[in-house]
């Protein structure tokens, strides 16, 4: 790392960087930022920058509030949207306690721990997210209905479309920041867009997703529109998911690949999927962490609400995509339940942990789901042993609460905080009188 630190210091001098933003993520996935002057950076590398953690969601109890943010030089990036000199740069931080130990409240550390466990088993974990979001007309105030910027559909090319310009600008920025974009297109719903990031190791991907969300919001502001990663803003249109392709590598070889096996899927790959399915319900509160997430999961269409896997089945929670036979290293598993508003560090950590558990315990993979799961009757599903994902955030929390796997993966501190925070959200939501109720009951009853 130390060459990288030197590199960072040199770059800051050469490019006349006047501010360095230190980024970190709170437990529910919001990006936090603290700006320091370049002169303080060397100290920050050596010892970290102190801040009061009690002000941040889920970080610390009041009496142990002092925390240190230590920038990770591998994540150094000049921020292009603050274009002109003097420039601004950012780095992601690891969070430490005043004793210099990794903080148990740090999402990034949660993922690092999970990755270290994978490394102990000889694996590196790669992810490739397809991030969906909506572009809306900017509106002020509460209780407004979202209005999409266009009325196009899947892969539509919109002449002079806002979305088109928008994607071009966003992708340019992302590429400027060293985040490779695989491809982008207009998604199924009006105003909905998808941008796919290139696959990378899970920690970099999670950092990239955090950056991505910021970039998208920034570009939207510049272009006079509003971007939202809310999982399900429109009842009548599909929601915004973050289908994520996962793969494990042993050195240079893809551990999921086995030539000649069904779908070229190795035993490791099958066990990994089995782990995701068996623990799928426990980890849903993390991968789909908002009240609204469950409106997407249960909103029909292609939303994956059942713990199933399939090959070309777009209703399954896990899909094993088709590959060209000679591309052994591209064997991967696509998880379709996760949404764009998750905390990517925690989400990747629990997905990895569930999959690894399948490998460690040698779980058997249940048979593939060939039918459209939505078209089956409840009894058919029961007969086939297909269980649903939790139906609401409240239910998801009840299941997660009993999960040893999630507690171990998140660490006791984050686990406890996450549950408390989300229970509070669920409680508040239940107190809300919805439009549905008003429409249906007010006059009738």
């Amino acid at each position: 790392m130390d060459r990288q630190q030197e590199f960072v210091l040199r770059t800051i001098e050469e490019r006349d960087i006047r501010f360095v933003r230190l980024w970190f993520t709170d437990v529910v996935g919001a990006l936090k930022s603290v700006a320091i002057a370049p002169a303080e950076l060397e100290g920050a590398f050596a010892e970290g920058i102190g801040f009061d953690g009690s002000a941040i969601e889920g970080f610390a109890r009041v009496y142990e509030a002092d925390m240190l943010a230590k920038p990770d030089p591998a994540t150094f990036q000049v921020l292009p949207w603050r274009g002109e000199n003097p420039g601004t740069a950012r780095m992601f931080c690891d969070l430490l306690t005043p004793d210099g130990q990794p903080s148990f409240a740090d999402s990034r550390h949660v993922l690092r721990r999970a990755l270290a466990k994978a490394a102990d088993l000889g694996f590196t974990f790669y992810t490739h997210p397809e991030i969906e979001f909506f572009l809306l007309r900017p509106q002020q105030g509460k209780r407004v209905k979202p209005v999409p910027v266009d009325h196009a559909g899947y892969f539509d090319h919109v002449p002079h479309g806002t979305a088109h310009d928008f994607r071009r600008a966003a992708i340019t920025l992302l590429e400027n920041m060293g985040i490779s974009v695989e491809y982008s297109h207009h998604e199924g719903a009006p105003g909905q867009n998808e941008i796919d990031l290139r696959y990378a190791d899970a920690l970099s991907t999670a950092d990239n997703i955090m950056t991505f969300r910021t970039v998208v919001k920034e570009v939207a502001l510049e272009q006079g529109v509003q971007a939202s990663f809310m999982p399900k803003p429109f009842g009548q249109f599909p929601g915004s998911g973050m289908h994520t392709h996962l793969s494990l590598f042993e050195g240079d070889t893809n551990a999921f690949h086995e030539a000649g096996a069904p779908y070229q899927l190795s035993r490791t790959g099958r066990q990994f999927i089995a782990g995701l399915l068996r623990h799928g319900a426990e980890i849903t509160a993390v991968t789909n962490q908002w009240v609204n997430s469950y409106k997407r999961l249960w909103g029909g269409g292609e939303a994956p609400a059942y713990l199933t896997w399939g090959h070309n089945n777009r209703s399954a929670m896990i899909r094993v995509p088709m590959y060209k036979p000679d591309k052994g290293n591209s064997t991967r598993v696509e998880v379709r339940s996760i949404d764009s508003a998750c905390n990517p560090y925690l989400a990747f950590a629990v997905l990895l942990a569930a999959g690894l558990k399948g490998i460690e315990e040698g779980y058997e993979l249940p048979p593939e789901a060939e039918d459209d799961v939505w078209s089956l009757t409840d009894s058919e599903r029961r007969a086939m042993g297909i269980s649903p994902l939790p139906s609401s955030l409240g239910r998801a929390l009840e299941i997660m609460e009993r999960s040893e796997l999630v507690a171990e993966t998140l660490g006791e501190h984050v686990f406890d905080f996450f549950l408390r925070n989300k229970r509070a959200e669920w409680r508040e939501y239940r107190q809300e009188i919805t439009q549905f109720e008003l429409d249906r009951y007010l006059t009738q009853l």
Binding site: E6, D99, E412
Partner: protein, 1006 residues
């Protein structure tokens, strides 16, 4: 053929292990053809002088056989074998000393001359021999740059290996032929290091040749590290290096680094790869900045930048050994000059002490158990420990004293003795021991040229090893004896090197050989982990000052004890407490004698004092209790009966209640100390601690009740009541923690014909006296809590049996019956006890268990306790008693089961949580898994609660968050040193699991 000379019996006398086979070999035709039968006969005795005579004979036959096809190799061999001189001796002992070298001679027979004609090599000799061989090779067969020839490695690799082994034969022959290998050791080790350096030089030549044009763009120096840099290499070992590059004139730095990386990699490959001629040794460049992640080569400026900013303490320690080994010597020197101030400033860095302690733990740990007894290198007192200890002193004192800056262990040791940093005789003892262990290591490695640091176990191998060291008689037994006696010396290394000189400095002994200045001594104390070096100096000085016998004994004790204190989480506190105890006891004859003579007594005392402030305070208050360490059963808690008897009779010998109670108080503290010590030394577990502390409390109360009763009744002109004290809560359950209050309720019964109110008055007077007396037992008294009585603080202090019956009948709430589950008579009248139990048993184990309403009441009460009882600001997650998954959670769960089922299942009728839980599991009210989880959570919380008090000296109810405190507390509960940061996480995990079971079993959640 009849030859008396080399008959089997003769050979056996000479020390051949397989005389028959060796006699046959001596008669082999290949040999007799060369030197005749008589000549062969005459060789028996000279062959027997080596380590393994049988191997020597076999080796000779193989050598002679091999020369048959090589006339040039054969020339002179016959003459040599017939002559009786040093040359022949060198060849024959070489054949008998190394199977691997015999193999080499069998393929390169002409190399016998390297052994026979061996002269002590100089660095320059070796360097020119190695490089000349490579140059000669390239003159005859130029390298084909870049594009590889058809073979998978350059032929020069073979040349390098063959020449290396020829030179190795030379070094080994001189080593094996010396009459005193232990003295010779540094010479051999230095020659081996020089040979490695020469080989690196030659390998670099190969690398440059293979690179072809352009290689000059990079100046490259190879810095030897570790034993290579120290000039003290083994026969077979990784060779540690660091590569330094600079651009040649007119070349960019990038280009130089690019070329240098290729050259360095090729150099490593030239030594490390396997070819037809085998391999030499791996070249290990992992000590470079950033380790294996870092670039293979760096410029001087880049090295400097790294060490200035990022390097860890151990990296500076590694740099002590840096030595310019090969390549561009000017460049190497510049590198060393640049880094020098950094290395010698390392001891002043932040975290130096913590780093050193962590490094020390690493040195001492990680020996596979199966090997521990045979290790020469690892573990406490191993070779690595000697090297580490010497280096640590170099870092601490070399800062100001340049004479200490040698890269070689033995030289540094001598320099430390010369400078007065360690005593001369201690240095000499260690020098001897280190040499012997290294010589053993060398001989073991040389035999097969395998890297090993283990003593052999097979008798044959031990015999050969013993003979290799020139030991007579029974060489196998002698070598084991020599090894063990020297290993014993080395095991005392920390005492000798670190602490004795400190003592001499502090005691200002004029006769001492060491002469640390006060600043030097303080620096060393600090490096060893004492946070207040000046204070430590004062304590040591006070303990050892003067010419008394006491000071003399302390001077021998302290060096060892200081080491034990330094191993604990708080060395300063340990030393201070030791001083205070010693100040109190200094003149008492048995104290120092016990510490000196009782084996483990001193060590146990040191650990206890360094580990627990509570124990230290108890000891300081009653220093004579130290005697427990020396008594055979000193650390076995005494039974309640024995305690009661002792307390009573001690009280009985005093004439006033106050004096009587003071003597009970002193005994109580002594018994608590006994439990504390047994607990800290791991002799008893947490349930035994709870039982023992409860017994002590019960005996104290019983003695106090006697005294109070006697005092009141004699004042009132006679007894009119019988009294009973009932233990409640954790006292009733015999699960008391250190510093816990003793919950009790008091029962009385009027004597026949006495009115209730008269009896009540006397009973209350007795209780008041009891409370007063118990509180007056001196410092840190037992706290009697009688608030659990009916009507709480508003109720009478004591009630008669009748009154209890009426109360329970009319008023009592479910929680009061629940509290009765833990009621256990602990002092007073036996008949009253029986009557009281007869009264409460049907209440607490009530027929039909709990009604649904009552069960709801219990649950609601618990939920309310959780919400309200927690002190302000306490974290409900880490509160050991009332927090989630804490003691109360598990206790209430067991009690709820008892309330529901104890009427039908007598096994459940126990005041003890652990026993109740066990019974509930037996009966299937909880699953085995649930019981295990609950027990683990309860045990963890109980142990931590005790450990917090032992560590801090005062009670605490939360898992400590501060890392140092958590480290100290963690050590008491048996966690690894230095793992304070993860204590909370580990606690929370166990507590969460416990709480989940409580939710299911107690609250009835699905």
């Amino acid at each position: 053929m009849q030859r008396s000379h080399s008959s089997g019996a003769h050979l056996a006398r000479l020390g051949f292990a397989e005389p028959g086979r060796s006699a046959g070999l001596l008669a082999e035709r290949v040999l007799t053809e060369l030197i005749g039968e008589a000549g062969a006969d005459d060789l028996a005795e000279p062959l027997s002088r080596g380590a393994d005579p049988d191997l020597a004979v076999l080796g000779l036959i193989r050598l002679v056989e091999a020369t048959q096809a090589h006339p040039e190799a054969r020339a002179g061999l016959a003459d040599l074998l017939r002559s009786d001189d040093k040359r022949r001796h060198r060849l024959l002992v070489t054949l008998g000393g190394s199977r691997a070298l015999v193999d080499h001679l069998a393929t390169h027979p002409e190399h016998w001359r390297a052994a026979a004609d061996a002269t002590p090599p100089t660095a320059a000799d070796l360097r020119s021999a190695m490089t000349d061989a490579i140059r000669a090779h390239y003159r005859s067969a130029p390298a084909i740059p870049s594009g590889m020839p058809s073979r998978s490695y350059p032929p020069a690799y073979d040349v390098l290996r063959v020449e290396y082994r020829r030179q190795l034969l030379r070094i080994a022959a001189l080593d094996l032929a010396t009459p005193d290998p232990v003295t010779h050791l540094p010479v051999a080790a230095e020659a081996l290091a020089q040979l490695a350096e020469a080989t690196l030089e030659a390998a670099l030549l190969i690398a440059r040749e293979e690179f072809g044009p352009g290689h000059q763009d990079c100046r490259l120096a190879i810095i030897g590290m570790g034993k290579t840099g120290g000039g003290e290499l083994n026969y077979i070992s990784d060779v540690d290096v660091i590569f330094v590059v600079e651009p040649a004139d007119g070349v960019t730095e990038e280009r130089a680094v690019e070329v240098g990386t290729v050259l360095a990699a090729a150099t490593m490959k030239a030594c490390g790869s396997s070819t037809a001629e085998g391999t030499l040794w791996p070249v290990d460049a992992a000590l470079r900045p950033e380790g294996k992640q870092g670039p293979l080569v760096r410029t001087i400026a880049s090295h400097k930048a790294y060490y200035e900013r990022w390097a860890k303490t151990w990296e500076f320690q590694a740099l002590l050994k840096a030595w310019v080994s090969a390549g561009d010597l000017e460049l190497g020197k510049a590198y060393k000059e640049t880094l020098k101030p950094l290395i010698w400033g390392a001891a002043g860095r932040d975290n130096f002490v913590e780093d050193v302690q962590a490094m020390r733990r690493r040195v001492e740990q990680h020996v596979p158990a199966a090997e521990a007894a045979r290790q020469l290198k690892l573990g406490p007192g191993g070779l690595r420990d000697v090297e580490f200890s010497v280096q640590l002193l170099q870092l601490v004192h070399g800062r100001t004293d340049e004479s200490l800056r040698s890269a070689t262990t033995l030289e540094a040791l001598h320099a430390l003795a010369r400078g007065g940093y360690v005593a001369r005789d201690d240095a000499a003892t260690l020098d001897r021991a280190y040499r012997l262990l290294r010589t053993l290591e060398h001989r073991i490695q040389l035999y097969r040229l395998r890297r090993t640091h283990l003593m052999p176990t097979e008798p044959d191998a031990l015999r050969i090893l013993g003979r290799a060291l020139g030991l007579d008689g029974d060489p196998a037994a002698a070598v084991v004896a020599a090894w063990q006696s020297q290993a014993r010396e080395v095991r005392r290394i920390h005492e000798r090197l670190f602490y004795r000189p400190l003592l001499a400095a502090a005691a200002r002994l004029s006769s001492a050989e060491t002469s640390l200045s006060p600043e030097q001594a303080r620096a060393r104390f600090a490096a060893l982990g004492f946070r207040d070096p000046a204070g430590a100096m004062r304590h040591v000085e006070a303990l050892t000052f003067g010419v008394s016998r006491r000071a003399a004994i302390q001077r021998t004790l302290l060096p060892v004890m200081l080491g034990w204190f330094a191993d604990e989480a708080d060395p300063d506190a340990g030393l201070l407490a030791f001083r205070r105890v010693s100040d109190e006891l200094g003149t008492i004859h048995w104290y120092l004698k016990m510490l000196r003579d009782e084996g483990s007594a001193a060590e146990r005392l040191a650990h206890v004092l360094g580990r627990s402030r509570y124990a230290a305070e108890l000891l300081i208050r009653a220093p004579e209790s130290v005697a427990m360490f020396g008594e055979p059963d000193g650390l076995v808690p005494r039974t309640e009966a024995a305690l009661t008897q002792t307390f009573r009779s001690a009280a009985g010998r005093r004439d006033t209640p106050k004096r009587a109670m003071a003597s009970v108080g002193a005994l109580r503290r002594q018994e608590i100390l006994r439990v504390t010590l047994a607990d800290l030394l791991g002799e008893i577990d947490v349930t035994q601690v709870g039982r023992a502390l409860s017994d002590i409390a019960a005996a104290t109360i019983a003695a106090a009740l006697d005294i109070a009763g006697a005092a009141v009744t004699s004042a009132q002109g006679g007894a009119v009541v019988d009294m009973l004290v009932v233990g409640m809560g954790s006292l009733g359950g015999a699960e008391l923690g250190y510093g816990s209050d003793a919950d009790v309720i008091i029962v009385h019964r009027p004597h026949a014909g006495i009115a209730e109110d008269v009896a009540q008055r006397q009973a209350i007077a007795i209780v008041q006296e009891l409370v007063r007396l118990v509180a007056a037992t001196g410092p840190d008294p037992l706290v009697l809590d009688i608030d659990l009585r009916p009507e709480g603080k508003n109720g009478p202090l004591s009630r008669s049996l009748t009154s209890y019956a009426a109360y329970y009948d009319r008023w009592a709430l479910t929680w009061e019956f629940q509290a009765l589950l833990r009621a256990r008579p602990i002092a007073g009248d036996a008949e009253v006890a029986t009557a009281y139990l007869a009264l409460i048993d049907p209440l607490r184990w009530r027929h039909g268990g709990l009604t649904a309403t009552q069960l709801r009441e219990v649950r609601t009460m618990k939920a309310r306790v959780e919400a309200e009882r927690l002190p302000r600001g306490a974290d409900p997650r880490t509160h050991l008693k009332l927090g989630r998954g804490g003691l109360t959670d598990i206790e209430w769960t067991v009690q709820a089961l008892q309330l529901q089922h104890a009427d039908k299942h007598p096994e459940l009728r126990t005041p003890n949580t652990v026993a109740g839980l066990g019974a509930a599991a037996q009966l299937g009210f909880v699953t085995a898994e649930q019981a295990e989880t609950l027990l683990a959570a309860w045990t963890q919380a109980a142990r931590l609660r005790n450990a917090v008090l032992l560590w801090k000296g005062r009670p605490g109810d939360a898992v400590p968050g501060d890392v140092r405190e958590a480290d100290g507390v963690g050590r008491i509960v048996g966690r690894e040193p230095g793992t304070g940061a993860t204590l909370t996480e580990a606690y929370l995990r166990q507590a969460r699991r416990g709480r989940a079971v409580v939710d299911t079993v107690f609250y009835g959640h699905e």
